[in-house]
Symmetry: C2
Subunit: 250 residues, 2 copies
């Protein structure tokens, strides 16, 4: 176990590169097995290095390696959310979700194990890292809604949707990656619009966000399509509107 | 620590009653402190019994007591969901959410600790109990939608909403139990309607569910109110509808 592999790569990498290589090997293993089923030997073997070398970089052993890998994955995940504040909100959301879902697709079981908890190497620190990603995601979405001081109602709506997206990702992994990613992504964008519009019914700040967002959308975009598809479903429910407003269809 | 309290209650309880009393004491403690900060001595003291007596009922110590308390809370929680299949869907949902939110209110930090994970006494068994409650909640909702074989899309919509409700409960606890419970409950009912309607846009089964559900609603109910409040927010977005459908307002 103390023998070096002797491969050229073993000597050429800088400290930073070696650390990144070990984290990548660890993440790839965590993506296919539960954390408790991955040993330091596995990581050493996957990286083509010796076990002592892994220990030199991660003296805290597997727990430290897991947390570092998680931290690195969290950083990568947070980068998915970055999106310029230009164009229709749904286009920005679509692009960010495409990157996020590609990350879920790639990290697979490691993503699931992490979020589902119950792992023996989960700690308050790993939980804090995951919560940090959730907060970052919510902050990104809120920043795109361009509200200087989002009130509790709007924040709750956004955080609920973030959690629902997480749940959808886990269900998607659990169901053999069905439906196709673009269908899932469109559904998530539509759910966001739906919960935002529903929340707007009782919250002036959210209503303002919705009005501004709708202004930027086009008939060919997701909102136009959603509206045209929803209308026939609800068109028979004119009896629910008060006489003052009148039924949508005479 | 081996001395009995000598209170009349100490001798009078049956085995079942004593077990229930210990679980209740444990749940009440877990509701106000993190599981790792609750000792068996605390439970004995809260129940007014000796530590050995607690051990007689729970020879596995704190881990066993915690799992039993969790199992008991999970059973109680699942009972919240039971609701006769009568009347408008939103009324049923409102009643079930009232019971669920009262449970969250009562169990407080214990509820949060459990769902947020990262506790040292969390195991794959406790995770399985929590997942079981989530599944039961989704099954209850699906049964009220009266679809013999819910397809993946409808199941995903329901499970996403269940997770969002969970997130809302945690945020609510985190924000000092604001907004008032009835506001939170109405918001959750409205979010359910919103996501169901959005999903109906692309799924015939969900569209059928929505049409049947809307038929049972009244103008005075939550759907009528939501519709009347949403229309003014989206009324300026007529430009998003195709010429074929025509703008909602001339």
């Amino acid at each position: 176990m103390t023998s070096a592999t002797g491969s050229p790569a073993y000597r050429r990498l800088s400290v930073e590169e070696r650390r990144a290589q070990l984290l990548e090997a660890a993440l790839s293993l965590f993506a296919h097995r539960a954390p408790e089923e991955v040993s330091l030997d596995d990581v050493a073997e996957a990286a083509g290095v010796s076990r002592p070398l892994v220990y030199r970089y991660f003296p805290g052993g597997k727990q430290q390696l897991y947390e570092a890998a998680l931290r690195s994955a969290a950083d990568e995940l947070e980068q998915c959310f970055a999106e310029p504040a230009e164009g229709p909100l749904t286009s920005r959301l679509t692009r960010a979700l495409d990157r996020y879902l590609a990350f879920v697709d790639q990290h697979d079981m490691g993503f699931a194990a992490l979020l589902q908890g119950g792992s023996v190497i989960e700690t308050s620190r790993t939980t804090a890292i995951v919560d940090g990603v959730r907060r970052a995601a919510a902050d990104h979405v809120l920043s795109h809604l361009a509200v200087p001081e989002p009130a509790p109602r709007l924040r709750m709506t956004v955080r609920m949707w973030i959690t629902a997206v997480e749940a959808a990702s886990l269900i998607w992994l659990d169901e053999g990656k069905e439906p196709p990613l673009d269908e899932l992504r469109d559904a998530l964008v539509e759910q966001f619009l739906a919960v935002l519009v529903a929340a707007a019914a009782r919250d002036a700040q959210t209503a303002d966000v919705v009005r501004r967002a709708l202004d930027l959308e086009t008939p060919e975009g997701p909102v136009g399509e959603l509206a045209r598809r929803v209308l026939p479903v609800v068109s028979d429910a004119g009896h629910l509107l008060s006489p003052g407003t009148g039924p949508r269809r005479p």
